[in-house]
């Protein structure tokens, strides 16, 4: 794999994960447990979709086949999507929503922190701005994991269940493949070993504070999102998200 090929692939991964998690959060509109949460969830979603747009725009320039950011977001099918499987998992209660967010935010924070010093200036610029947002996201989701984990007996049980349900999707965040390695070697992407270490460190720290038990490090992990092999959820997410672009392919302006 050439560096140029890996870069395009890598940008799509960043974009798609932001986009799909943002979409999942949009589904919660009007359904949050408190009005303050309503605002915060939409705020995080807005950041993520905004970041996705920046990554898509850069990816579209490099791919250079006539597709723009919207075409990349709304006209690719599931097998061409490169998001982490974690991001497509459904909103099954607030503990799962917050657990998903927390595992993602830790990965996102350390990834962006590294990308802010990327040898690719365009990436560094986008990441530096996104890092500010991700720092807030992480602070917020960490707090919620602690509140729910160390709140009431009921909330502890919900939060522990969420950790158990989601754990199998976390391996993909910190298991590098060729693309990740090529990006790291080029000084564009983060060092995979460091990323894994940082992720584990912070997740363990927060879960411990939250009186929660993490999954085993050698647990079986469900992977494939980065290569386009997804869970059954993604097809439905895209069917909804891409509906207008698919139903009205002749429309050029919206």
């Amino acid at each position: 794999m050439t560096e140029a090929e890996a870069l395009k692939e890598y940008l799509l991964r960043l974009a798609d994960s932001d986009m799909i998690l943002g979409q999942r959060l949009c589904e919660l509109c009007g359904k949050a447990p408190a009005l303050e949460e309503e605002m915060a969830l939409m705020n995080v979603a807005l950041d993520l979709v905004g970041q996705a747009r920046n990554w898509y725009e850069y990816a579209a320039e490099l791919i250079d086949d006539g597709r723009d950011a919207d075409k990349l977001a709304f006209r690719r099918d599931a097998h061409n999507y490169r998001n982490l499987l974690l991001t497509e998992q459904p909103n099954e209660g607030y503990a799962v929503t917050m657990g998903r967010q927390f595992f993602f935010d830790v990965w996102h924070y350390f990834t962006l922190k590294s990308l802010a010093g990327s040898s690719d200036e365009r990436i560094a610029g986008i990441a530096a701005k996104a890092l500010k947002e991700a720092t807030y996201h992480l602070r917020r989701s960490s707090e919620w994991v602690k509140r729910l984990g160390d709140g009431t007996d009921e909330s502890h049980q919900h939060m522990q269940d969420a950790v158990d349900i989601l754990w199998r999707f976390t391996g993909e965040l910190i298991t590098p493949d060729d693309t990740d390695r090529v990006m790291a070697e080029a000084g564009i992407g983060p060092d995979p070993d460091q990323l894994a270490k940082d992720w584990r460190g912070m997740v363990n720290e927060v879960l411990t504070q939250a009186t929660l038990t993490p999954g085993a490090e050698d647990a079986w992990m469900y992977m494939g999102g980065k290569h386009g092999e997804h869970t059954e959820h993604l097809g439905f997410i895209l069917a909804e998200m891409q509906f207008l672009q698919r139903a009205y392919p002749d429309a050029t302006t919206w």
């Binding site: 949009c26 009431t152 998200m241």
Partner: protein, 331 residues
């Protein structure tokens, strides 16, 4: 906006002579356009009316997120999706801001929300209509936020300080939403396909009359309106506001190249206003009394969110308590 029918408890207006010294002082202050602040004395009827009006307004902001939430997952482009998300976020913010203004009157947010969920409190009837195609997101911004602005611009001068200040801030954001909404429609009409243009006209056909209903019933002889006007909680009558809205909206409608579903709509050279047909008041009261297309769904969604979120809020309270205890023990 979004307060269509607010009970004042008044059967008729009191004259200055009939008022107690406190009431008279209060009324004179209102007449002199001095803002009433939370710590000032106020008649109980004034306080209750404001709580009703501001809570209706806050509920409307929150319930109003739902018809947009219906399309935020299906917005057609990144730009439109981001715009709609930002608008929804603003609305949650308006809700919070308004509930805070309401709490300065001694009302409790949770109690007022409970009344909403029990069907005892109202919110704007417009949000009980479904959003059926993408152009509805444009039409809601243009017509619904537009109607809200007409009311709210006037409410910036409302007599209660915290409410007035909330209106100043909210108006700024809603003007922005309105322009965005109109732009959605304009882009589709100018550069869209025939199918997209049909969506725009369809959205206008469905939302036109409900938007006019947002201003509430005719207020000739309504004691509620007269009392609210005397207290300067309201500043203009429902019919005046409705006329203002129509007069400013028709040129925009024509510029779009669309029509309103009202055969009686025409410019009146003599009055300098547009004449328009009679609103279907039966439908208005039906929707207000719970029998609109989406009343059940809207309230059920809100109730479910709050009910199912109870354990989350309890956890937050329990955790805060534990943290406080730990801090005390450590000190």
């Amino acid at each position: 906006m979004y307060a269509q029918l607010v009970e004042t408890g008044a059967k008729r207006l009191k004259t200055l002579e009939e008022m107690s010294p406190e009431e008279r002082e209060f009324q004179e202050k209102v007449d002199a356009e001095t803002k009433i602040e939370p710590k000032n004395w106020m008649p109980e009827g004034y306080r209750k009316t404001l709580v009703r009006q501001i809570s209706q307004h806050a509920h409307s902001e929150v319930v109003g997120m739902l018809p947009e939430g219906n399309w935020v997952t299906r917005a057609p482009t990144l730009k439109r999706k981001l715009q709609l998300m930002a608008k929804i976020q603003d609305e949650a913010g308006h809700g919070l801001y308004l509930y805070s203004a309401m709490e300065t009157l001694g009302a409790d947010r949770d109690e007022e929300i409970e009344k909403l969920h029990q069907g005892k409190a109202k919110y704007s009837s417009i949000f009980n209509y479904p959003t059926l195609n993408w152009a509805d997101m444009g039409a809601v911004g243009w017509l619904v936020d537009g109607a809200a602005i007409v009311n709210q611009v006037v409410l910036q001068r409302t007599s209660y300080g915290p409410y007035s200040r909330a209106m100043v801030r909210i108006c700024k954001e809603e003007s922005f939403h309105q322009r965005q909404g109109y732009q959605i429609l304009l882009d589709m009409m100018r550069e869209g396909t025939e199918e997209q243009k049909a969506m725009v006209q369809d959205a206008i056909n469905r939302l036109w009359w409900p938007a006019l209903m947002m201003f509430g019933p005719h207020d000739d002889e309504s004691p509620n309106s007269q009392q609210s006007l005397a207290w300067k909680i309201k500043r203009k009558s429902n019919d005046e506001l409705r006329q203002m809205f129509i007069d400013q909206t028709i040129p925009q409608l024509e510029f779009l190249g669309c029509t309103a579903p009202d055969p009686d709509l025409k410019w009146n050279e003599e009055t300098g206003h547009y004449d328009f047909g009679e609103i279907n008041w039966q439908e208005f009261y039906d929707v207000l009394n719970g029998n609109g297309p989406c009343n059940r769904e809207r309230i059920n969604t809100r109730k479910k969110a709050i009910d199912e979120g109870a354990w989350v809020r309890e956890a937050a309270v329990a955790y805060a308590k534990k943290q406080k205890q730990r801090a005390q023990e450590a000190a």
